[in-house]
């Protein structure tokens, strides 16, 4: 199903025809709706919920293989292969359990859906490190000046990087993210774990090496917060498998 009509804003009226509901709920043509999408996205989200529950129960680090991924999904808008926002759902679960979660998105692309869900809120901090979207998906979100609105002002931090950024500059940037996360009183960390900053990822946006990923992992471990690693992007290459 590929809709050919889209509403320009969320306050627009809601149609009854399926194709035009799809137009309302799809940001782009990279979120194909097929027969089993609901079931896969549902269990992908539930995997993140289970991870959040285990983190709350005392685990220090967990990995959630969420697929379909989630960080381009807004509350009512799919996009970029994402349907339910898995990290957002995990953060809500942790918030309800009494935590103060932050979501750190290290995918190659800005986590626009996550930003959108929490943009006017101060109870879930959202931070994203990604390729500068001025000429890169998702284009309309992810710029440094997007800091949150209303109660959420200051609770969204975007750290866009030039295309081709490698290990050292990436590591410097993640330290900036950590300083912000620490300063705002976070007690649990949800990582939107894209592996596509990898230098040999087919999308070729950043140039993080395998040793660079090890350094990122060490930096996350050294940061010391209970951490939920939720899979986002990262596409097939000879090195990934």
């Amino acid at each position: 199903m590929i809709p050919n009509v889209h509403s320009d804003r969320r306050t627009a009226s809601y149609p009854r025809s399926a194709i035009d509901q799809a137009g309302f709920h799809q940001a782009d043509t990279a979120c194909p709706i097929a027969a089993h999408i609901f079931e896969s996205a549902y269990w992908s989200a539930h995997s993140a919920v289970k991870g959040a529950d285990l983190l709350h129960a005392g685990e220090q680090a967990l990995y959630v293989l969420s697929r379909s991924p989630g960080h381009h999904a807004f509350a009512d808008l799919a996009g970029g292969f994402c349907f339910f926002n898995n990290t957002g759902i995990a953060a809500e679960r942790l918030l309800a359990a009494g935590h103060r979660p932050a979501i750190l998105d290290v995918d190659l692309h800005h986590g626009n859906g996550t930003q959108g869900i929490f943009y006017e809120r101060s109870d879930v901090l959202t931070v994203s490190i990604h390729v500068d979207p001025i000429r890169f998906y998702p284009f309309y979100w992810g710029h440094a000046q997007e800091r949150g609105e209303g109660a959420g002002l200051g609770y969204n931090l975007n750290l866009p990087l030039p295309r081709g950024t490698g290990d050292d500059d990436y590591l410097k940037t993640i330290k900036t993210a950590f300083a912000h996360i620490r300063a705002l009183g976070t007690d649990v960390l949800v990582i939107a774990l894209g592996l596509d900053p990898f230098e040999k990822d087919p999308l070729k946006g950043l140039a993080v090496t395998t040793p660079g990923f090890a350094r990122i992992g060490e930096a996350i471990a050294k940061f010391g917060l209970p951490t939920l690693l939720v899979q986002e992007g990262g596409y097939l290459s000879e090195e990934l498998g």
Binding site: H25, E39, W43, H46, G51, L62, R67, P69, P202, G234
Partner: protein, 83 residues
């Protein structure tokens, strides 16, 4: 490290997407599960499956009845409504 995955995540298998006016093979392929799952196990992860909590945990991140055109069937416990 504990890890979470549910086998029903295999079911979504779109073949194509569109960009720049062209149809391409979908890079979000099933084989990613195979690679990520085996990579995680090789790194010492031990997988378990989640329980079904219905739509409750997802509801704070869902604003419209986005399932109305996605779902051929909603799993047990689900019941999305507009809010």
């Amino acid at each position: 490290m504990k890890a979470i995955f549910d086998d029903r995540q295999w079911k979504h298998d779109p073949k194509h997407f569109m960009a720049n006016g062209t149809v391409y093979p979908n890079p979000e392929q099933l084989q990613r599960i195979e690679v990520l799952h085996s990579g995680a196990e090789a790194a010492g992860c031990s997988f378990q499956a989640p329980a079904d909590h219905g739509m409750g945990p997802s509801r704070p991140c869902i604003r419209r009845n986005i399932s109305s055109f996605w779902k051929p069937s909603i799993p047990t416990g689900a019941g999305l409504r507009m809010r």
